[in-house]
Amino acid sequence: MAEYAPVDLTVENQVEFELDGRRVAAPAGTMLADACYAHGVEIPIFCYEPRIGPPIGACRMCLVEVEGMRGLQTACSTPVAPDMVVRTTTDAVKEAQDGVLEVLLANHPLDCPVCDKGGECPLQDRTFKFGPGTSRYVEPKRHQPKPLNLSHRIALDRERCISCFRCVRFSQEVAQDGELTMQERGARSEITTFSGDPYRGRFSGNIIDVCPVGALTSIPYRFVSRPWDVQNTPSVCGLCPVGCNTELTVREGRTKRVTGRPEPNPAVEEGWLCDTGRWAYDASWSQARITAAVVREATGDRTATLEDAVDGAAALLRGRTAGILVGTAATVEEAGIAADLAGGALPGAVVARMGIPGGALAPLRALPGAQLGDVDDADLVVVAGGDPSAQQPVAELRLRKARRFGATVTGCGPRPHALEALGTFIRTAPGDLAAGVASLAEAIAAATRPVVMWDEADLAGEPAAAEALAAAIAANPAARQLELGAEVNGSGLRALGLPDAGAVLDAVRAGTVDALLLVHADPLDAPGRAAWDAALEGFAGPVIAIASHADATTERADLVLPALTMWEQEGTLVSMNGRVQRLRPGARGPEGAAAGWELLVALAHRLGVVPGYRTAAAAFRAVTAGRPAFAGITPEAAGVLGVPLAAPAQVAGASAPPPASGEGVPLVATRTVYGGAAARRSAALADTAAPAELRMAPDTAAAHWVNDGDRVVLRSSSGESGRLTVRVGDGLPEGVVFAPLGAPGSPTEGVLPADMAPVLVRVARVEAG
């Protein structure tokens, strides 16, 4: 169980001690509670949560007898010592456990029958197992408003709180958002935020997972189900390239909840999820969800059965040369089957992946890589470019943890961000990341175990910086690199050897393809969209889209095949750190939809080439066979916790972007996971949706004749943006403007080239604020 720290019983020089008459051993420094658990003895705990930090001994639930020590000891904060004699079942221990539980329950409402936690509640379980069975307490209990909204997503039921401090410590020490505290004291103690404001945080939902009672519950999950009515499935979050391991709670075919795993993945998320990953699942049944196939005809749109639609798609594609575009969130199976169509069912097809070409990144990717878990032991963590707190949320928690453990944090980049407060950060001019990298080289060389996090999008756009960074890392043999990726399954698509979307774009322009098949790909919502807009303008062939949600591309497709989402289908994703992890289907998805890989298999059938696989696992084996990056990787090897790719994914068609051209002010674009596209599809996250704003410092605004609140469009050599609202803010560097990627209508994407090369933009006011 996650609540105890994992103990490695195989290391050398363990400390031997006696546990309930048995001679056992554990590594020095292990806390008794963890050592006992590793040897099959459960010591009840409440406040102890090793992932949050060192023990605080607040609840006294874990008392045990240690020979020679006066009084009972708290097992959560007593490390094992040689020849220690520990007893966990004596009368004194029993009496202490009864006493502690009686006090904890003195003010507890015992409303288990109407409590969401009932059935999966540590307080309930431990009371049954270790508690007194009856209470002598007959006085009236404390009453509190039931429940209180701590935020739009978290309900707080103060009557149930046992003041264990786990939630407070998560907020203060793990997320470091400073929001939650315990106010008042004694029997009046209560969990709250500043003046009862809503809890604002990017990781707030984790407090629900760590609360050992039903005091903190998820509002979207409130009264939705009981633990014995659901199935829990270990899966992976497919909303950003971190690839957090999740658990899906499914009832009646629908995903009802996403939580951190009870057995977390120490190499990735350590059980923590960002709020987007936790609550975006209701996007499965959002307005934009495509629930039936759409056939667009001269007489208008009509819906079709899946059978008919696949037939229709095959008819449209038959005899044509297709361009196939695979989106960045498509699974390895979907991308691999799509790639294989070129050799069989759709001969001559050009298959490519969306996303950043990244030719300049090969030297960085070839260096020894680290997993997120390795950041814990680093003495120096470097963040080159990017903004992990916005773009790779859970990576932020690792960085904060490394800092807590004493690592030095440093970095450079063009945008101000939340993690700069952790150390020394150098603000670089847009397009001059290389200068920042140069100033970090010395620190990297001097460190003993440095981990260098680098931002895929920023470094892809600046080949000189990528080269310099690779050299700096290579100079220290102990240094490891950790990619902060931009795309959910970018690593997987590269590992399959797919070239970048330019291949299909060129073919469309040259007229060498006369049909387009889009697999979870939306080139009209992505950087480089201006080029696609122009290319598709004159494209006469049919466009077929396999997609789960409506986007700009499905709007103009001739045929749309409804696909399942990441909460509903089987498949494999490769995280930004090259970790191959499996999606497991939780919910069933809409009647009229099917998994993307199944749609592709069906299409191949209709086109007369029967693929040799029928299951996702078999498809994985078939499409990864002969691809060196996947050597030795099978669905079994990926198991529940995933496995890193054997070899770094090579980039096909390496090409480095040119430096910024045109005129105007440099634009720095940031992807938003929190409040981004997923938030707009999810009712639970609606209030977090980030607005389409162009942020700049006061003098910059003055220089461009715009004021706070003005509506503007941007123009670059790549194209024109949608409308953005100007926000003038202090604390931003002058001479640069900032805009989000993934805002409603994808306004910023219009001025960016697909290769993420730095751009200069002209700001034109279209409406005064």
């Binding site: 203060q172 958002d177 400073g178 929001e179 505290t181 106010q183 008042e184 004291r185 935020t193 003046s195």
Partner: protein
């Protein structure tokens, strides 16, 4: 009170505190001298001046009896209700004051005119002078009879409110 004033107050005493967290207490006490209690804005200013989160500052303020997160009277009268004072008639003093100010005999409270707050205190360290009373953060005095205590609050009611409300 704004953060700059709090910073100016802290600067000369900063060196006295090894742990910067300890500065939160003098900062809160000083911020309170303006209105006699701490508003949301005051606590936000203390947070800004000390570098801790507003929520943390509020948790400290809510922990201590002499830091007020709700408005109290112009003068706060603390009546010791611990053993030594009780043996010397503290509960009669308490009852007389509550009666006179028209506040709840169980919890104390603030008089209707907003001038006086009566509150309980635990041992003030003047057991030899029980029953004793402390006005705001002034020196504790005693012994008081109920009549003398009532006279004290009457005088306080008439006296001008101090410029800085140290409590």
């Amino acid at each position: 009170m704004d953060a700059d004033r709090i910073r100016a107050h802290l600067d000369p005493i900063r060196h006295e505190f090894a742990d910067p967290r300890s500065l939160v207490m003098p900062a809160l006490k000083f911020a309170q001298t303006e209105k006699g209690h701490l508003t949301r804005e005051d606590m936000a200013a203390v947070a800004e001046a000390t570098g801790y989160s507003p929520s943390f500052i509020e948790s400290v303020a809510s922990f201590y009896d002499r830091l007020y997160t709700r408005p109290v009277g112009n003068r706060v009268v603390s009546v010791c209700v611990t053993l030594s004072c009780m043996l010397r008639g503290a509960d009669e003093v308490w009852d007389a004051l509550c009666e006179h100010e028209g506040v709840d005999h169980h919890h104390g409270g603030t008089s209707a005119d907003g001038r006086i707050t009566i509150q309980e205190a635990q041992c003030l360290g003047y057991c030899d002078k029980g029953a004793c009373i402390q006005v705001d953060a002034e020196e504790t005095k005693g012994p008081y009879t109920p009549e003398e205590a009532v006279k004290l609050v009457e005088e306080l009611r008439e006296a001008p409110t101090p410029a800085e409300l140290w409590r």
